[in-house]
C-alpha cells in the first residue's frame, strides 16, 4: 500500500513538473508577444516601427499560464500528500521532501499574492524557480519513502516545519521582488525602461510589496524559531544550543529584524532596503542548502 502511494507521489510530481514547464512556456510566450505586438491596426501615419505593449493579444496566454500554474500547484500538492501517505507521516523527513514542500509553498505564496496584486509578470521567474527546485529534488535529493527517526516523531514537526517552510516560501518571493526592483532600478538609471519591462509595476509598488511580504511573514518566522526551541527542549534537553541550523535561523531573524527597523524607523527605501532584503533572504537559503548538506549538528535530516 505504501509503495503504491510512493509511486502516485512520484508520478504526480513528474506531472507537476510537466505542467510547470508548460506554464513556463506560456509565460515566456506572453512576455515575448506582449512586447512584439505592433502598436495598433491604424497605419495611416506610415511609421509603425514603434513597438509598444499590447496586452490584448496576450491576455489569453497569460490566463493559460496562470491556469497551468494552478494545475501544477494542485498536482504538486497531491504529490506531497501522497508522499506523506506512503510513509504514514508528514512529508518533512528529509531534504527531498523539504524541497517539494518548499516548492509547493513558494507556488502557493505566489498564487495567494496573485489574488491581491497583479503579479503575473513574476510568473516566468516563479515557474523557473519551481522547475529548478523540483528538478534538483528529483535528480539529486531523492530518497525512498521511509519512516521518521525517533527525534522527529513529534507534533512539533508539523508545527515547526510548516511554519518554517511557509516563511521560506514568502521570503523567497520577497527576494524575487527585491531582485526585480534592483534590476529595474538600474535600468531606469540608464534611461526609460525597455519595452518588456514596462509592464512590470513601478519601483514604488515593488518596494512596498516586498516590505509587506516580509512584515506579514516575520511573525510567522519568529513563531517557527520559537516552536523549534520548544521542540528542541523536549527532544534534546535544551531550547537553544547554537546548533548551526539554529544559529542561521537566528541570523535570518536578525537580518529581517534589521530590515524592518531600517524601513519603519529609519525610513530606508529603494535600493538599500532591497539589498538588505536580498541579504536576509540569502541567509535563509544558505541555511537551507549549506547547513542541510554540509553542516554538522543536530539538524542533519537531509538523508544525504
Amino acid at each position: 500500500m505504501s509503495e503504491r502511494w510512493a509511486y502516485i507521489s512520484n508520478y504526480s510530481i513528474y506531472s507537476a513538473m510537466a505542467v510547470f514547464t508548460l506554464s513556463f512556456l506560456a509565460h515566456a510566450y506572453e512576455t515575448a508577444w506582449a512586447v512584439r505586438a505592433p502598436q495598433s491596426t491604424d497605419s495611416t501615419d506610415g511609421n509603425l516601427a514603434i513597438k509598444t505593449l499590447d496586452y490584448t493579444r496576450t491576455e489569453k496566454a497569460s490566463r493559460i499560464a496562470t491556469a497551468l500554474m494552478i494545475l501544477g500547484f494542485v498536482l504538486l500538492f497531491a504529490g506531497v500528500i501522497a508522499r506523506g501517505l506512503s510513509a504514514q507521516r508528514v512529508p518533512w523527513g528529509n531534504m527531498y521532501e523539504f524541497s517539494i514542500t518548499g516548492a509547493l509553498a513558494f507556488t502557493g505564496a505566489y498564487l495567494a499574492a496573485l489574488r491581491k496584486y497583479d503579479l503575473r509578470w513574476l510568473g516566468l521567474l516563479v515557474s523557473i524557480a519551481v522547475l529548478l527546485t523540483l528538478g534538483t529534488a528529483i535528480a539529486v535529493l531523492y530518497r525512498p519513502s521511509a519512516p521518521l527517526v525517533p527525534a522527529l516523531k513529534s507534533t512539533w514537526l508539523v508545527i515547526h516545519v510548516s511554519a518554517a517552510i511557509i516563511s521560506g516560501g514568502v521570503f523567497l518571493l520577497a527576494n524575487a521582488i527585491s531582485a526585480a526592483y534592483l534590476y529595474l532600478d538600474s535600468m531606469e538609471r540608464k534611461g526609460p525602461r525597455t519595452l518588456w519591462a514596462q509592464r512590470l509595476p513601478s519601483l514604488e509598488v515593488l518596494d512596498q510589496l516586498s516590505y509587506r511580504l516580509v512584515a506579514f511573514v516575520f511573525p510567522l518566522w519568529t513563531f517557527a524559531v520559537i516552536a523549534g526551541a520548544i521542540w528542541a527542549e523536549s527532544a534534546w534537553g535544551r531550547y537553544w544550543g547554537w546548533d548551526p541550523k539554529e544559529t542561521w535561523a537566528f541570523i535570518t531573524w536578525v537580518a529581517y529584524a534589521a530590515y524592518l527597523h531600517a524601513r519603519v524607523t529609519i525610513g530606508w527605501r529603494g535600493r538599500r532596503a532591497a539589498w538588505l532584503c536580498l541579504f536576509a533572504g540569502s541567509t535563509f537559503l544558505f541555511n537551507y542548502i549549506y547547513v542541510n548538506i554540509y553542516g554538522t549538528g543536530k539538524h542533519t535530516y537531509s538523508g544525504l
Binding site: 520559537i226 534537553g237 531550547y239 544559529t247 527597523h261
Partner: protein, 491 residues
Amino acid sequence: MSKAIELPELGATGLLRYSWRQLTSMRTALILLLMLGVAAIPGSVIPQRDQNPMKVSEYFTNSPTLSLWMDRFSLFDVYGSPWFSAIYILLFISLIGCVLPRSVEHFHAARALPPKTPKNLDRMEFYTTWESQGGEMEIAHTLLRSSRFRILQENNSISAEKGFTRETGNLFFHLSLVLILIGVGLGSLFGMRGYAIVNVGERFINVPTTYDSLTFGKLLSEKDLPPFVITVDNFVAKYNTFTNAPEDYTLDVSVVESPGAQPVKRTVKVNSPLRFGSTNVYLQANGYSPIVTVRDSAGNVALQGPVPFLPQDGNLKSIGAIKVPDADPQIGFVATFLPTQARDSVRGGISVFPEALDPKMLFSIWRGDLGLNTGVPQSVYRIDTSKMERIGLESLKPGESFLYDGGSITFETYVPWVNLQVVRDPGKNYALLGGIVAILGLLASLFTRRRRIWIRISESGKVEVAGLAKNSAPGLEAEIARVVSSLKGEK
C-alpha cells in the same frame, strides 16, 4: 597671533549624555543588530567546545599554533566570548534605553484625549464633504464608539483616534526580548546539565559521582541536586529493516522521586523526557555493554560485569576496552562489538544491522602496564598499549570462552545501555513567556494601524470627513468610505 579654535566644553556629564544618546539611537541599534548577526557566523563554521569537543581537540592536534590563536579570540566558544557578549549587552542596553522612555511616553499618550479637530480638514487625506441632512454627529459618535475609537467631541466636530495597540505591541515585543535574555541568564546561573551511561538493570542515583560529566551553573552547587533514583528496567530500540534507521526507542524506568517514596513506573521516549519540577531526564543515546567474566590462571574471577562500548556507526559497531587492573601482570582487551556481524573484504568485521541479531565480540589481548596510575585521565573506551604486549587475538559469541596464557575470558551476554541527560533549567519558562509575548506583540504592532478620523459640521451646514494614517498605513480610504456611507444613511 594664531587664533585657537574654541570647542564648546563638553564636560564629563556632557560626554556621558552624548554617548548615551549615540548608544540609544536607532542607527546604533541597527548596526549592533547586524553585528550580532555577523558575529554569530563563525560559531556555525568553527566547531564549538559546547557542542563538539572532539572536533575542537582535532583542531588542536592538526594545527596547534593556529588553534592557540583562535582560542585566544574565543573562536571555539563564540557564544560565550567577550566580544559576542559585548555586542548583545550593548544591544540590550540600547534597546532598554530606547524602549523605556517610549513606554512612559506611550503610557501618557494612551490616556490623553485625541488632539482637537484641525481647522482645515480639506488638507487632510481622503477629504469628503456633502450637505448635512441632520443627525450625522450622533451617528458618527455611535459608529466610532462601537468600532472602539477614542473620541474627543467638540461643539460641532468629532476627533477620533485608534490603533494605540500598534505601539503597545511594539513595546511589549521589545520588552519580551529582555525577558528572554533574563530567562537565558537564569538558566546559565542556576542550571545544571549532566550525562550518565546506565546499563539496563542498573540504577542511576542522582549524586555527582554517578555522572560521566556534569556542569553546574555559577550559582548552583552539588547539594542542590534533587535526590531521585532511576532504575532502568528495560530498553527497546526498533529499526527499519530496509533503511536500518531507528524508528522507535522506548525506555522503561522505575522512579523514586525522594528517599522513601514508592517507585513509580514511567516510560521515556526521545520526545518525552521525565520531568521533575525544573529538572528533566532525557534519553540521549544508546549502545551495548558486553557482559564478560575474566578469570586468572587459578580460575579466580578478576573482573565480571557489563562494560559499555561506544557506537561507531549507524549499525552500532561499537568499540570498547575491558581493563583488568587487578590481574598480575595487568590484562587489557581492545574489543569491538558487532550486533549483527558480517565480514567485509576491506574493512574486516562489520555490523550490518543495529539490532543484536547475531552478536559477536572481536578482541585482542594485551599484557603489561595499563598505565592507570600515571595520573593522566584515560578514555574508558581505549587502552594505552604502549607499555603492553599483544598475546592473542580472538572473537567470541555470547556464551563462549577463550583461554589464553595466564587466564580466560567468557563473553556471557550483553545488555543495552542508555545515555541519560539530566538537565535543570529554571529560566526556560521565562524565556518561553518572553517568546509568546514577542509573537503577540509583533502581531499587534505589524497588523494594527494607527489612524485618526475627523468629522465636522461646518456653519454653512456641510458635513466634512477626513483622516490621517500614521506611517501611511493602507486601508484608511476604505474605512472612511464606510463612515461616509453610514453618515449619508446608505446601508
